[in-house]
Amino acid sequence: MEKTLQVLTELEHDGLLVRYAIGGAMGATFYVEPVLTFDLDVFVILPQTAGGLLTLAPIYDALRARGYTEEGECVNIEGVPVQFLPAHNALLEEALAEARETSYGATATRVLRAEHLAAIAVQTGRDKDRERVRLLLGHAPLDGEYLRAVLARHNLEARWKEWTS
C-alpha cells in the first residue's frame, strides 16, 4: 500500500493529476474499524484539458508505461487495485480541497475528511453508503457543525435526516 501511495504521489508531481485523496471504504477505515473492500477508491482532480473534457486516459497511459495493468475499472498498482474517481461535482471538489494530510509509514498521503465521506455517502445513496454513514456516525470523530455546513451547502440535509432519524 505504501508503494501504491508513492506512485499516486508521483502522478501528482508529474502533473497527471492535480490532487488526490483516499475515499470510499478505505477512507472510512482510516476513521473507523476496518471495513472489507477489494479496491482502493482514489478521488482525483484532473488537469484542465484544451477541450474541457475530464479524462483519465493520461493517467492510465502513464501507469501502463510503468508496467501496471488494468483490471476492470481499476489499475493494479503495486498489488492494490486502484479505482480513480474524478471529482465531478462541487461536493467532491470541496472534499478533495479540504482532505486531511496524513502519512502511511514514511509516505505522505491524503484521506477525505470523515464529514465529507459521510456527505458523499448520503449523496451516492446506496444501501452500503447508508451503512457507511452509520459506521462513521458511531465511531468517526465528526465535527457536527462542519458536517451540518457541508450537508447544507450541497442540499443533502433532507436525506441525512431521513437516514439518521
Binding site: P34, V35, Y104
Partner: protein
C-alpha cells in the same frame, strides 16, 4: 421473567464488549487497519470466488511473503 432478568446483564455485557472492541479497532494505526482489511480479504475471497465474483487479495510489499499465504 426471572430468566430474562438474569440474561439482560449478560447481553448488556456482550454488547458493551463488542462496542469496546470496535473502539479499539478504530484507534489502530492506518497500516494496522490495512493489514486487517487484507486478512478479511483472505477470509472472504474464497466465498466470493465460489459465487463467481473474481476478487483479488492485495499483495502488499510491507507484508512478508509468508503472510500472503
Amino acid at each position: 421473567m426471572e430468566g430474562m432478568d438474569k440474561l439482560k446483564p449478560e447481553i448488556a455485557r456482550l454488547i458493551a464488549a463488542k462496542e469496546q472492541r470496535r473502539c479499539k479497532l478504530a484507534a489502530l494505526s492506518f497500516p494496522e487497519k490495512v493489514r486487517i482489511v487484507v486478512q478479511l480479504q483472505r477470509m472472504v475471497a474464497p466465498v466470493l470466488r465460489a459465487r463467481g465474483r473474481p476478487v483479488r487479495v492485495w499483495r502488499l510489499a510491507e507484508f512478508t511473503t509468508d503472510e500472503h499465504g
